[in-house]
Amino acid sequence: MIYVVLAFLAVSLLLYVLLAGADFGAGIIELFSSKENQAINKKTVYQVMGPVWEANHIWIIILIVILWIAFPHYYNILVLALHIPLTLVLLGITLRGVAFVFRYYDAYKDSSQILYDWMFKTSSLVTPIFLGLTMGGVVSGDIINPSQMENHSFLEVYVHSWFNIFSILTGFFYAALCAFLASVFLIGEVDDTSKSMYMRKASIATIVVVSLGFITLAYGYLSGIAFVVDFISNIWSVSAIIVSGILLFPLWKNIKSGRRIISRALAGMQIFFILFAATITHFPNILFTTNGSISIYEHPVPDSVMNVLGISLLIGGVLIIPGLIHLLTSFKLIKLLEK
């Protein structure tokens, strides 16, 4: 049953990074756009993401609920060491969600829209940065094991764990990835004039993602971060990253010829390979403290808990997935048989 739970954990993580990432990215693109393009983007985001955007963000709830039920000790270290960036992520999610509703549901469209738009755009940038920072913090090797917290200062325990160059680079890398995903996803949704705008954004985002990815890995390698050093010497991780990079070529070909389902699938696969590369090297030891890595299996929960969770997830999946697919197809967000 633990494999069912792990599968749901992995799927939630992938979908959150992908779908919420595209949501964040749409806001980031709007932040770096001219006035007219901002208006186009605002309309497109409403049409495309309106019906599903809330569903996109539920994956993070599923993710943390699985963590705390099935891997409580692992989760415990995360919430202690990464309290501050997680709180900032939360504030970002809150402000962004509220701004999203306000800008589309306010009865009057007047000057208050300027405030909503500003809130939406900035929180769309700040939230994924802190999310990426948190993910970077998990692997940067600066987390202090809770059993040794008493011998360390506040800064060492609660700040250095995530406020380090590697984590910050990861944060910016994830934000760039979001912008990349959003531009690829939105290209298929607009008419030809707006299309070129998203194409331009997508090419800029691609360049930023690739260079930030390279800088992050290079920095990690040069400063001897165990996670990156092992990562680079592991054949699976390196191949996954290379595949992810190579996929850019078919991706661009498909974007240019307007095959939006294939291009989305390719972008999704790229994210899958990046996450696969990041976890495969050390799995199940995917948390790095100042004195070594910690396994997600440490202090396992009893089988009774794992079984009930696995069954609940399976039942939930059976209930939700058909509905979700029906929702996506009803509003033509996915054309399963696109010609």
């Binding site: 809330e54 099935a70 989760y75 939360l90 504030l91 809150t94 509220v98 808990v305």
Partner: protein, 437 residues
């Protein structure tokens, strides 16, 4: 401020905020589908306008409820890591099912909001029903997790370890049913009176009277029925607490000395030092009867419990009095509505009738929050009743007070913004009709 006080205040503050939004997001879909059904049956365009404006309310409150709920699911771990480390696996089941119910709700809401004229009419209406039902399911499941903190079960606690965990038994803990029933009725009462009150005020002000009267009648019907049933559920809860958490009951009643045939105090000012309740109304033997169904039953007093295992008596007592007092008032108001509906139709033409219901608008929520203060403060000093103390569950990270200030700032702004947004919805609704007329 001590870390523990800051953490408890932050939790209380975010919960108080979330409860309002979650209740409205959970109950308003029912008003919306009734109005929608009336539109489908009568094709009276007023019902369509009403449905669409309520739908906007549902969307706004669903999202604010969802984001504040996301915040809470993180806060549980961030503020109370020691609690989550042990309790997480045990009470994980209601949370994972709640996640599923919430997901269903989000999918159904996606259909409902964006489905106008795009999907078949009956199916569209039906998705609104799913929104309502899954919302109520979410509420019940989360309350079940809270029930477990009051009535921990589904494990053996041996030498400080939680062994033989049975998540299903924890989900169906002894407190879940009474708490879930009481909370669901409270949600309908509070939201119903709030929505009805807002529309009553519009009728009182003679704005778009026809629409607001229709809206009022839908909302108040739910609220009145729930308010009339609520005392029965309250009685079940009181008897349950008398059994399982006698110290909470004693604090609710400011009852210090163990007694046979204990009296019931109504109102009064609690002095915890002298253990006296001044200026109260005393009904002899009533507490024994309410708690155990026997006028001479023994009711345990606070003095039977160690000082460090008692909650803040005055706060619990005042909150309890507020809840019961307002609940009774709303029950009477609910009866008034039915009298007006079936016997005294002329009341609907009296401005005073509308003013009365406008004034009642916030009281359901005041009662509901007071009720949560009773159950949460009344459980202290325990986070898991008789197993783990709140002070042992808190994060070791210092400086929670800064986190508290941030939350207060953000949530205050949110409250103002959402209120403002609602006011604009109503203003817009009124302007639309005047233009047409």
């Amino acid at each position: 401020m001590e870390n523990i006080d800051a953490a408890r205040l932050q939790m209380a503050f975010t919960l108080i905020f979330h409860i309002v939004f979650a209740c409205i997001g959970m109950v308003m879909p029912f008003f919306m589908v009734v109005s929608h059904k009336k539109w489908l049956n009568t094709r009276n365009p007023i019902y369509l306008t009403l449905t669409k404006s309520w739908q906007k309310g549902v969307a706004i409150f669903f999202v604010t409820g969802a984001v504040s709920g996301t915040a809470l699911s993180f806060e549980l771990g961030l503020l109370w890591p020691e609690f989550m480390k042990h309790a997480g696996p045990i009470i994980g089941m209601p949370f994972s099912l709640e996640g599923a119910a919430f997901f269903v709700e989000a999918v159904a809401l996606g259909f409902y909001l964006y489905g106008w004229k795009k999907i078949p009419e009956t199916f569209h209406w039906f998705t609104g029903i799913i929104v309502g039902i899954s919302g109520v399911m979410s509420g019940i499941l989360v309350v079940s997790a809270n029930g477990w903190m009051n009535a921990p079960s589904g494990f053996d606690y041996i030498n400080g370890e939680f062994l033989n965990i049975d998540p299903v038994k924890a989900l169906f803990n002894p407190a879940w049913f009474n708490q879930a029933l009481h909370m669901t009725l409270a949600a309908f009462t509070a939201t119903g009176f709030a929505v009805a009150g807002i529309h009553a005020y519009q009728v009182y002000k003679k704005r778009n009277v026809e629409l607001h009267k229709k809206a009022f009648k839908i909302a108040i019907a739910f609220a009145a029925i729930a308010a009339i049933l609520q005392p029965l559920s309250g009685d079940l809860s009181a008897k349950d607490i008398a059994e399982r958490q006698p110290v909470k009951l004693a604090a609710m009643e400011a009852h210090y000395e163990t007694k046979n045939g204990a009296p019931l105090y109504i109102g009064g000012i609690v002095d915890n030092e002298t253990q006296e309740v001044k200026y109260k109304l005393e009904i002899p033997n009533a507490l024994s009867f309410l708690a155990f169904g026997d006028f001479n039953a023994e009711v345990k007093g606070l003095n039977d419990f160690p000082k460090d295992e008692q909650p803040n008596v005055a706060m619990v007592h005042y909150a309890f009095q507020t809840m019961v007092g307002l609940g009774t008032l709303l029950m009477i108001a609910g009866m008034l509505f039915f009298v007006a509906k079936y016997k005294k139709k002329s009341w609907f033409n009296m401005p005073k009738f509308w003013l009365l219901f406008a004034l009642l608008a916030p009281l359901g929520f005041v009662a509901l929050e007071a009720g949560w203060i009773v159950t949460e403060v009344g459980r202290q000093p325990w986070i898991i009743h008789n197993i783990m103390k709140t002070k042992d569950a808190i994060t070791p990270m210092p400086g929670i007070v800064f986190s508290l200030y941030t939350y207060i700032a953000v949530y205050t702004i949110l409250t103002i913004a959402v209120t403002w947004l609602m006011a604009r919805q109503i203003k817009f609704l009124n302007s639309v009709k005047t233009n047409e007329a």
